[in-house]
């Protein structure tokens, strides 16, 4: 049985806690955990290898007071809407998921697909890390690994403000052309948009728990952070706030 934690925090806390859990799971001092959380206030995360100026619209983020930081995982930039997106983190022993990185993406992303099915919608996994509904991205994930442990975190957009998303993030022109569309707005969607009704955060959290129950073939008990997690996350928060970390490339 895995631990389930439901949380809400700012961008620095959220990324610090994900890294703290990755490190402490790798030291075998915490159990496999599904963490479901919200970014409050809304914020942006960028991939480990991205250059800030290529990944986000800095001017817009500053004028809109939207905070951002760099993730420990690769992949692209993400807008996390406090009122429209739930983020998941799976922190687990690699041996409990798959030693093959691509297989582990597929297994964990199937939890998102099952969650979307709870709303009566069909979704597809598009390797490496996307889940789409009718060709439009509704979820993106990124995975980081230590010796024995993986952290995969990702989004599920249920009612994201897609205008703010499109103004916050920069997508390379070539990426848009490859998708044969002209803007981020046209290549992403939300569960509410697909259903034609406003879906609540609680509905999404319930669906995600059911989805990961199927995908990971495990039950969950609702637990709490350990003292070690809280202390390490508090320390790491300073890193995620620092200019040296955020603007390292």
């Amino acid at each position: 049985m895995w631990r389930l934690i439901i949380d809400e925090g700012d961008v620095y806390w959220n990324m610090a806690m994900d890294e703290a859990m990755l490190l402490l799971r790798d030291s075998n001092v915490i159990p496999n955990t599904l963490r479901l959380y919200v970014f409050n206030p809304s914020a942006v995360t960028i991939g480990y290898f991205q250059r800030v100026e290529d990944a986000v619209n800095l001017e817009f983020l500053r004028s809109s007071n939207i905070g951002f930081t760099r993730r420990v995982s690769g992949g692209g930039s993400v807008y996390h809407d406090v009122n429209g997106e739930v983020t998941y983190s799976v922190v687990a022993s690699i041996n409990d998921i798959s030693t093959n990185i691509m297989d582990s993406y597929r297994i964990i992303c199937s939890g998102i697909i099952y969650a979307i099915k709870e709303f009566g919608l069909n979704a597809d996994f598009i390797p490496i890390n996307d889940v789409v509904i009718r060709g439009r991205k509704v979820s993106g994930s990124a995975q980081s690994r230590k010796k024995n442990t993986l952290l995969q975190h990702g989004t599920l957009m249920y009612n994201t403000d897609l205008i703010t998303l499109s103004k916050s993030l920069r997508a390379p022109k070539e990426k848009l052309l490859e998708h044969k569309v002209t803007s981020i707005l046209e290549r992403v969607t939300t569960i509410s948009r697909e259903l034609g009704r406003t879906v609540s955060r609680d509905e999404v959290i319930r669906a995600l728990i059911k989805g990961f129950n199927k995908a990971l073939n495990t039950d969950f008990y609702q637990g709490h952070y350990t003292r070690e997690e809280l202390e390490l996350a508090s320390k790491l928060t300073e890193k995620y706030r620092s200019v040296e970390w955020i603007f390292q490339r």
Binding site: F49, G74, G76, P127
Partner: protein, 101 residues
């Protein structure tokens, strides 16, 4: 009278979409020697910290040595959304598309 060697500082960039991901290489070159290199994008590379070793190993080396140096990372790093061959090709493209400063 000795004629001083002319030093050319070049700044080069190449961006490519490979395997659904974007890889960008920014190079600063002085007389064919890499002064600075940054490999960026939305790809995945495991372990992530290896990117710093790759950039560090390429710094101070000739552009002609890039393929050999990157080939040494085969087996120790796994790249998703791109490959070591892609990285070699994008660094080479960046160099050939260099603009003189």
């Amino acid at each position: 009278m000795d004629i001083p060697e002319v030093m050319f500082m070049k700044v080069c960039t190449s961006i490519k979409r490979v395997g659904g991901k974007t890889v960008k290489v920014d190079l600063e070159i002085l007389n064919d020697t890499i002064l600075k290199i940054v490999i960026s994008g939305d790809f995945f590379l495991y372990p992530e910290e290896a990117i710093h070793e790759i950039e560090s190993r390429l710094t101070g080396r000739k552009v002609s040595e890039v393929a050999n140096i990157l080939n040494e990372f085969r087996g120790s790093v796994e790249v998703l959304g791109a490959s070591i061959d892609d990285l070699i090709s994008i660094v080479t493209d960046a160099y050939t598309s260099c603009s003189q400063e």
